[in-house]
């Protein structure tokens, strides 16, 4: 603030902050209030005639007791997907940062290339790849990796795979940024100081890449745990995540209060987990 004032004069700092503040007020605060209001309303109302705000906290308890398995499933799927993204993304980001040489930029463009097509289309194309009569399933059956009746589509595997695929770039980019900042001579210094390749990784590269790991896992885990597209397109009714449940409650069941309560719970849960995680990782300054 002080420096802004110095540059732009006494009141202009407010002008500079203004547009973003207004934007947030309209597109964050307002929907949040709407969500909170709905979540505390009487579910006896209907989407047509509206809901009465009765400060009904039971909505929250009911949402938890009825839908906790979806919550747990979401966290598990998102957790596995995040872990897979971390392993795959780390190797790739490491390769790009230290081994890619002049191909660095090309590889980075390839990493973000999927963003040039829509999320939905990319996920739908996986339906084709994983289809029961598709080449992939048939090859795996031929190799006896999958049984005769085995399938990939509409399984938890497909959902986790879809999540991993869709959120991988969000893992790679922060990892790359933080790996790229590491002086390669630190690796040499560690080698010089009696570190085996594995020790070089665990004692030097990994600790120095923690900011990227934290950023990447957050950017992957948060949207993955709220995602419903992957489960919707690649899963089955028994792989539904909390996002699907919220969607069903809003659309099919027209039960807005419980849907809103579930959304708020998910949000609070994720914020809580993120705070805990970031604290443990000692990277508060990231937030």
């Amino acid at each position: 603030m002080a420096s802004l004032q110095r540059v732009f004069g006494k009141n202009s700092a407010y002008w500079l902050i203004g547009p973003a503040a207004v934007w947030l007020a309209i597109f964050f605060l307002f929907p949040m209030l709407s969500l909170l209001t709905t979540s505390l309303s009487d579910p006896a109302g209907s989407p047509i005639y509206g809901y009465d705000l009765t400060w009904r906290l039971q909505n929250y308890f009911e949402a938890i007791s009825d839908y906790w398995p979806y919550m747990v499933r979401s966290l598990i799927y998102a957790g596995i997907a995040t872990l897979l993204c971390l392993v795959l993304g780390y190797v790739l980001a490491y390769a790009i940062a230290f081994k890619a040489g002049r191909w660095k930029n090309v590889m980075l463009v390839l990493v973000i290339a999927p963003f040039f097509t829509s999320f939905l289309v990319r996920t739908l194309s996986w339906k084709l790849i994983l289809a029961d009569n598709g080449w992939l399933v048939e090859s795996l059956q031929w190799l006896h990796i999958l049984g005769e009746d085995g399938r990939l589509l509409a399984t938890p595997f497909a959902v986790v795979m879809g999540l991993t695929y869709n959120f991988l770039p969000f893992m790679i980019l922060p990892l790359y940024t933080s790996l790229e900042k590491i002086d390669p001579r630190l690796n040499e210094a560690a080698a010089d100081l009696y570190s085996s390749p594995w020790q070089r990784f665990t004692k030097v590269i990994w600790p120095l890449s923690i900011p990227g790991v934290v950023g990447g896992t957050l950017l992957t885990f948060i949207p993955a745990s709220g995602d419903y597209i992957n489960s919707d397109l690649l899963g089955n009714p028994n792989t539904q995540m909390v996002g699907n449940k919220i969607q069903t409650l809003f659309t099919d069941a027209s039960d807005y209060p419980h849907a809103a309560a579930l959304s708020v719970i998910l949000m609070v849960l994720i914020v809580g987990m993120v705070l805990f995680y970031v604290r443990r990782a000692g990277t508060e300054d990231l937030l």
Partner: protein, 383 residues
């Protein structure tokens, strides 16, 4: 405190050769023995292969041909982390996420030392870093970081400590101080130090032995005094300080044994050069003389030198530096030579520009180099 215990041995490089995949040959058939416990400097301009040599010793660069031994142990292909060698990196490469104490304890921990606290304390005291033990590298000054890098390597009591331009990032004053400091520490711990630098003054101040490298080869190896006063090539002559090189024709030899001299005609004046300082067999040669060995006197006044005086030189430039004065003289044949004169006060002033002067030097200071060599080789661009 002495870290050098037990039998170690000399560092021996035999036919060491490095060729990069792109075809560039950085080091050509290098043979070198660095005695245990010595402070050895590899001196040369950038790209001369000195750093590549160092990295091959450290194991950070593969050896194309040749071998590296420490004592009897062949470490040519050993993994870097299995060599009894440690490096002080240019810009130090300190681990930014670790405290100073943790940085220093890094090596011992990897080697399985259970509780390195004692030795860490000791080495931090040696390098005057006790106060900084719990700080992170970023909180330290350049000189302190340099000492951390040193401590981090020294604590491992390596057979050979490699220093890659360790003082390059420091300002001049600090660099001077650290030169003395490094020398002190080396004497205290008694380990073999191999110091890579492009700074001839730094190499000469610190090292027992200096190897001057150029284009992947060693041009000359020896004690600093020997290298400076009796360079074998124009490159060494120029790279280690400044030199006047005057074209001369060899007339013949006189005397024998230690008194043998070679007579050289320089544009009509005959000079005598000790045979041990003659490094060419050709008819032509460069007569080399360091500027501070050049004596001048206004025409007609006596010069305190037994050799033949060159007359007819004119002072074209005078730079008064305080402790000394630099004169640029134009010789009768057009060449300009330099003379550094100590301001002892005897002259009682400066010789003004335009004064005709006689030029001479004590014959034992001149040397004769191969005239086929470039007179400009090894001249360092002022940066």
């Amino acid at each position: 405190m002495s870290l050098a215990d037990g039998v170690r041995g000399d560092l021996k490089l035999t036919g060491l050769h490095k060729r990069y995949p792109n075809g560039f040959v950085a080091v050509q058939s290098l043979d070198l023995v660095i005695p245990q416990g010595s402070f050895f400097a590899l001196l040369g301009p950038s790209g001369c292969g000195k750093t590549t040599t160092l990295r091959m010793v450290a194991g950070l660069e593969d050896v194309t041909k040749g071998s590296i031994h420490i004592g009897e142990q062949d470490i040519t292909t050993a993994k870097p982390y299995k060599r009894p060698v440690n490096t002080v990196f240019q810009n130090y490469a300190l681990f930014p996420h670790l405290t100073i104490a943790e940085n220093v304890a890094f090596g011992p921990k990897r080697r399985g030392v259970k509780d390195p606290k004692g030795s860490v304390k000791e080495i931090l005291a040696l390098t005057e870093l006790t106060e900084q033990a719990n700080k992170k590298p970023a909180q330290l000054s350049g000189g302190q970081q340099q000492r951390v890098a040193l401590a981090r390597a020294l604590i491992n009591r390596p057979d050979v400590l490699l220093l890659d331009e360790p003082l390059g990032a420091l300002d001049l004053k600090l660099r001077r101080a650290m030169q003395i400091e490094l020398k002190r520490i080396q004497e205290e711990v008694g380990l073999t130090f191999v110091h890579v630098t492009h700074d001839q003054e730094e190499a000469m101040t610190m090292a027992d032995t200096v190897a001057v490298m150029n284009e992947g080869r060693i041009e000359q190896l020896g004690a600093p005094y020997e290298l400076y006063t009796n360079p074998h090539t124009t490159f060494v002559a120029n790279f280690l300080g400044r030199t006047n090189l005057i074209k001369g024709t060899v007339l013949g030899r006189e005397g024998s044994g230690a008194d043998e001299v070679v007579k050289v005609d320089m544009h009509g004046t005959v000079a005598s050069i000790k045979a041990s300082r003659v490094h060419t067999d050709a008819k032509e040669g460069w007569v080399g003389i360091r500027p501070e060995k050049v004596l001048i006197q206004p025409e007609g006044q006596a010069i305190d030198a037994p050799g033949a005086a060159l007359s007819g030189a004119v002072v074209v430039d005078v730079s008064y530096i305080g402790v000394s004065t630099d004169y640029v003289l134009r010789m009768p044949w057009g060449q300009e030579i330099t003379c550094f004169e100590q301001n002892t006060g005897r002259r009682g002033g400066l010789i003004p520009v335009g004064t005709k002067v006689d030029v001479s030097w004590r014959p034992e200071f001149a040397f004769l180099l191969d005239s086929a060599q470039d007179a400009e080789a090894g001249i360092v661009e002022e940066d």
